[in-house]
Symmetry: C2
Subunit: 127 residues, 2 copies
C-alpha cells in the first residue's frame, strides 16, 4: 500500500519562528535543531518559510542579520495535507524545486514537516 505523508513526516519537534524574529536568531535555531528550514508562524498561522538558501542569499546581498526574517522569507509557502500520498509530495517538490513541505491538517494548522531526505530514506529502504 502507498505510504501517506503522516507516516513519514517529522511531527515531534516543529521548528518555527514568528515573522518579527531577527534573521540571526532564525539561523541559530536552524543550527541548534540541525534543520534546513524554519516555518514562520504568526498567531499559529503559516505566513512563510525560511531555508538555509534564503539565509545564504541574505548575507551575500549584505542584508543585516538583525533584520526581521519577514524580509527574506518566502511568503505563503506550498504545504501538503497529512493524509496525502507520499508520491504526491514528491511530485510537488520536484515540480517546484523545493525540498521542504510544511504539513497541515484540514484546518490549515501546522502538524509536521516533510523534507526530501525523509522521502529519499524510505525509497532507499525499498531498494
Amino acid at each position: 500500500a502507498q505510504k501517506l505523508v503522516k507516516d513519514i513526516m517529522r511531527h515531534d519537534i516543529l521548528v518555527t519562528a514568528s515573522s518579527d524574529t531577527k534573521i540571526l536568531e532564525v539561523a541559530k535555531k536552524m543550527s541548534n535543531f540541525n534543520v534546513g528550514s524554519v516555518v514562520i508562524l504568526d498567531n499559529e498561522k503559516i505566513v512563510g518559510i525560511v531555508t538555509e538558501r534564503d539565509i545564504v542569499r541574505a548575507i551575500s546581498k549584505g542584508i543585516g542579520l538583525d533584520e526581521k526574517v519577514s524580509v527574506i522569507m518566502t511568503k505563503n509557502p506550498i504545504t501538503i495535507l497529512y493524509d496525502e500520498y507520499i508520491n504526491k509530495a514528491s511530485l510537488i517538490m520536484n515540480e517546484n524545486n523545493i525540498r521542504h513541505l510544511p504539513v497541515v491538517n484540514k484546518q490549515g494548522q501546522l502538524v509536521g514537516m516533510l523534507s526530501m531526505r525523509d522521502i529519499a530514506k524510505i525509497k532507499y529502504e525499498w531498494m
Copy 2:
C-alpha cells in the same frame, strides 16, 4: 541497465573556490550560481567542501564573514568515481547524511558534482 554517476552528474559548471577565499565570497558564489555546495580546491586538489549548512552555522556562531573558508569547510570530503553506479552514490549519501558528492576521475581530479536532487529527479521520472 543501471545508471552511472557520469550520466547524472553536473559537469558543465563546477563551482569551486580556493581555501583562502573569504566566507562572504563563497556565499556570493553559491547565490550567483544557485548551488548548495562549493568544492574547495587548492592547486586542483580537492581539500574541502562547503555547504549552505556550514555557512548558516558559521553566522550562528558569530564567525566573521571575512574569515577564510578553510575555517568552516569540511576537510577531505567524501567523493565518488564518475563510473560508479548511482545506487552506490545513494547509499553513500544516506549512510553519511550528506546531499552532495564531488565526482572524481581515477587521478582524483574533480570532474563533476552529484547532489541528492539529481538522483531524486531520475527516480521520480522512473515512477
